[in-house]
């Protein structure tokens, strides 16, 4: 079964997104043991990825906690804490066999009971718990090293979700005391994990220090002695520390495309956009589809003709950001480029607006307020300003409303009290996690990154339901291809250039984490050669 799965994933070679910027990393001969890798954190409220998604918790969390599997190049599922697994013919039972002798950081053995406990915890507490494991039914532990998961319906993305970022293996003897998981004191204090690194110092105001787990269940790993995460909030300070070599490794660096040249000039510092495919960060122009004029599809199409995302990519982002073509990131295994696109054409846009009942009256067709979130300003501010300038040419008045902080923006969008906003979200590798939420009729909720725009198409719902349980990769891919077509046809969002996500790292870093999960995957193979 393992072979079958890996073959299907291999068959899905994601569109090559080789955006290799920067000098080619120095080829290292032999991995070396030892050394302290300095990276950074911009703050976290918990170290337990079971109750919190995102990079701030995930990047140290995947070092502290192990998962059943890891995800290699081209989404190949590889054994980790599970040495192998078997899927029944009807796809409804999955049996995992754990490696022998694995221990938590406090010396207690890792057993099937811990795996069962972790899965139940994630299902109940993780923001994506229901999306990932909603169809998980009974879990049996016939022996300490065997876990049998019974599914109510096939879950095609199950194995992808079993890596530590989304399904960390937690010690039941620590967390199983009945306290609420989201606010469990051991999420921050005296954290006992199962992964390659242990928490040595956790002072979120200053730094997090992880040290090598000498009893790690993979022989001879990890290579690094220590990983230090100093707290650096200010992006400018971070760039300076990178240039000066005070930071060796900066995933999610928040570097603007225009800063790339600077980084490239710095001695011994490299930049890569590898390691973000599984996160799949897409940006889009979101319109509130409940109200005029955006409820009118022709208006949306006119806007799509006016907004030249190729120009945005090339000129504003210096060719470093790939134009988006739909809800799926170009690095996603189910990405399809076969979708309707709307060529830049201002005359056509104007004619369509005239026909749709929005002629120029007193110099204006209509006006609206475009909300600009406070996060990812390096992407959203230039996008919003470009849209404003383009639509001005069509006599559409756009007022930019820049949110002073996150809370202000979230409140407006999640209460549907907005006309249009710049937005963006993570795909995560399986579309059931990060894509379905935006389009499912049942998910029209007052929750951020749910279906806030108010889109409901029964045909799309059928596609989503079918794709959620389709285990044949090719059939599933066809369903998602159809979905991408429909979303672009209906112009639910106008997709902007994808995020320019980049890692900055020094020459000394060997085996840079460049798999689809990048720095959010365990770094037991990474080493330093200084």
């Amino acid at each position: 079964m393992f072979q079958r799965l890996s073959r299907t994933f291999l068959g899905a070679l994601p569109v090559a997104l080789a955006l290799s910027v920067g000098a080619a990393p120095v080829a290292h001969a032999e991995p070396k043991a030892g050394g302290t890798l300095t990276t950074f954190t911009s703050g976290y409220r918990t170290l337990n990825p079971a109750v919190q998604s995102g990079a701030s918790t995930g990047s140290p969390g995947s070092q502290i906690f192990a998962g059943l599997v890891t995800v290699g190049q081209d989404y190949k599922i590889q054994p980790y804490l599970a040495k192998d697994w078997e899927v029944s013919a009807d796809q409804l039972t999955v049996t995992f066999n754990l490696v022998s002798g694995a221990k938590f950081h406090d010396g207690a053995p890792i057993t099937g009971e811990d795996v069962k406990f972790s899965l139940e915890t994630v299902k109940a507490n993780h923001p994506f718990g229901a999306a990932m494991f909603g169809n998980v039914g009974e879990i049996d532990v016939p022996s300490p090293e065997t876990v049998v998961i019974h599914l109510n319906q096939p879950v095609p993305g199950l194995l992808l979700s079993m890596q530590p970022l989304l399904m960390p293996i937690l010690p039941k003897h620590v967390y199983g005391d009945g306290q609420d998981m989201k606010t469990h004191p051991r999420n921050m204090e005296n954290v006992v994990g199962s992964g390659p690194f242990k928490v040595e110092e956790n002072n979120p105001a200053e730094r997090l220090v992880l040290v090598k787990n000498e009893d790690f269940f993979i022989e001879g790993r990890p290579y690094l002695d220590k990983i230090v995460y100093p707290m650096v909030k200010d992006p400018l300070t971070r760039v300076l520390m990178l240039e000066k070599g005070e930071i060796d490794f900066a995933p999610f660096s928040g570097i603007r495309p225009t800063d790339v040249a600077r980084i490239e000039r710095a001695e011994g510092v490299n930049l890569t956009t590898d390691g973000y495919d599984a996160i799949g960060y897409v940006h889009y122009f979101e319109m509130n589809l409940r109200n005029e004029p955006f409820s009118n599809r022709d208006v949306r199409e006119a806007l799509a003709h006016a907004i030249d995302t190729g120009f945005l990519s090339k000129v504003i982002f210096g060719g470093k950001a790939v134009p988006g073509t739909g809800p799926l990131h170009t690095g996603n295994p189910f990405y399809s480029a076969d979708v309707p696109m709307y060529e830049p054409d201002m005359d056509k846009a104007a004619a369509m607006l005239d026909a749709a009942g929005y002629p120029v009256k007193d110099g204006v067709r209509f006006s609206f307020v475009l909300d600009v979130p406070s996060w990812a300003p390096q992407a959203h501010v230039p996008m919003a300003e470009y849209i404003q300038a383009q639509l001005e040419k069509l006599n559409i008045k756009v007022e930019l409303r820049k949110a002073p902080d996150f809370g202000t923006w979230v409140q407006r969008i999640s209460s549907w009290d907005y006309e249009a906003t710049m937005n963006g979200s993570f795909n995560y590798p399986d579309p059931t996690i990060g894509v379905h939420r935006h389009f499912d009729c049942d998910n029209i909720k007052n929750v951020i990154w749910a279906n806030t725009e108010g889109y409901c198409n029964p045909e799309v719902d059928k596609l989503l339901d079918a794709a959620a349980v389709e285990v044949d990769f090719d059939k599933r891919k066809a369903l998602y291809a159809e979905l991408q077509k429909t979303i672009q046809q209906d112009l639910v969002f106008i997709y902007m250039p994808q995020d320019f996500s980049a890692t900055v790292y020094s020459d000394a870093v060997g085996n840079m984490p460049d798999t689809p999960f990048g720095a959010l995957a365990p770094m037991y193979d990474t080493y330093l050669d200084k």
């Binding site: 995102g54 007052n446 929750v447």
Partner: protein
């Protein structure tokens, strides 16, 4: 005297309650609540999870119940529980207050001493090169944004001439021993303290210069000179004492302002103090933490005002009872 003290205490208590109520109201006028910010950071949640969190934090109750409960808890010395950090606000603040006090007192104290000295010097030779230099520097220091000064100082003293660390309060690997620890913290303290101190240095040199010029023209100074006292005696014993009175007044008043300046400086230099905590709490709508910090700052300002009163009486014996 006792009556005066009692009156002052009552005033202080009323003031602190007003600070709490006003801040509480202001925070709730801002759009967004702690749960929405938290859920956003978590990457989304179900409607049930959101309702559960609201109930857990007591945010599902009417506002007057929330503020009533909050005031009652504060009266008992309990500043509440941080939504974001999952720990008591008092312990959070106590963890962070040390670095902030270190930063604020170092920068304020050096700004006052150096600023006054510069001001006094330039007042004596009003048209000298030094005097003009002080004027230009203080204008620049006063008008430049503090985060810009911070970045420029980093570029100068950490990147171009790499003698100071860019950020943080301690190195990740400090040699054993208290002495090395203190040295390490001092090394990290220079840049943020310099950044924060520069604005106030500018301010105090301007203030003491103006005040000194005024005092030097008064009759009693002329008398002192006329009776043949040495110049040093006239300047430091007679003139300076009166000239620094406004400096002391402002030092007391400005303590609160310095704390607000610390918010920016701490963010730029990743200084683990109350400023960064306040900044984060605003963004996260961590109401209880923010209220706790504001309450603490108000308390510190009150204490500083009392200290200012005492210092005043020492400098100018004429001020006995206000």
């Amino acid at each position: 005297m006792i009556k005066g003290t009692l009156g002052k205490t009552a005033n202080t208590v009323i003031l602190l309650i007003a600070v709490l109520v006003l801040n509480f109201a202001m925070i709730h006028v801002a759009p967004g609540d702690p749960v929405e910010a938290l859920v956003g950071e978590m990457g989304g949640a179900t409607t049930e999870q959101i309702a559960e969190l609201r109930a857990q934090f007591g945010l599902d109750q009417p506002l007057y119940v929330q503020i009533g409960k909050y005031l009652w808890n504060v009266a008992q010395g309990d500043l509440g529980y941080s939504y974001y950090y999952d720990q008591p606000v008092t312990s959070l603040i106590l963890d962070r207050i040390g670095p902030t006090l270190l930063l604020v007192t170092t920068s304020l104290f050096s700004a006052i001493v150096i600023g006054t000295v510069l001001g006094v010097f330039s007042a004596q030779r009003r048209n000298s090169l030094l005097s003009h230099l002080v004027t230009v520097l203080s204008l620049a220091g006063f008008s430049a944004p503090v985060f810009w000064i911070g970045i420029m100082l980093i570029l100068l003293l950490s990147v171009a001439i790499p003698i100071l660390p860019i950020s943080g309060m301690t190195s990740s690997e400090v040699p054993e021993g208290t002495f090395w620890y203190i040295l390490d913290v001092a090394h990290h303290l220079v840049l943020p303290a310099l950044t924060l101190g520069l604005i106030y240095l500018a301010f105090y040199s301007r203030l003491s210069r103006a005040s000194m010029i005024e005092v030097l023209q008064t009759d009693y100074v002329r008398t002192a000179r006329a009776k043949g006292l040495p110049r040093r005696m006239v300047i430091y014993k007679h003139a300076l004492r009166n000239a620094v009175l406004p400096v002391v007044t402002f030092a007391g008043l400005q303590f609160g302002q310095v704390i607000s300046g610390a918010v920016l400086v701490e963010t730029v230099f990743a200084w683990p103090g109350l400023g960064t905590l306040a900044f984060d709490s605003i963004l996260r709508r961590d109401t209880t933490t923010l209220l706790g910090i504001l309450f603490f700052s108000a308390l510190m300002v009150v204490v500083m005002n009392i200290l200012t009163d005492i210092v005043y009486r020492r400098i100018d014996p004429r001020i006995k009872t206000a």
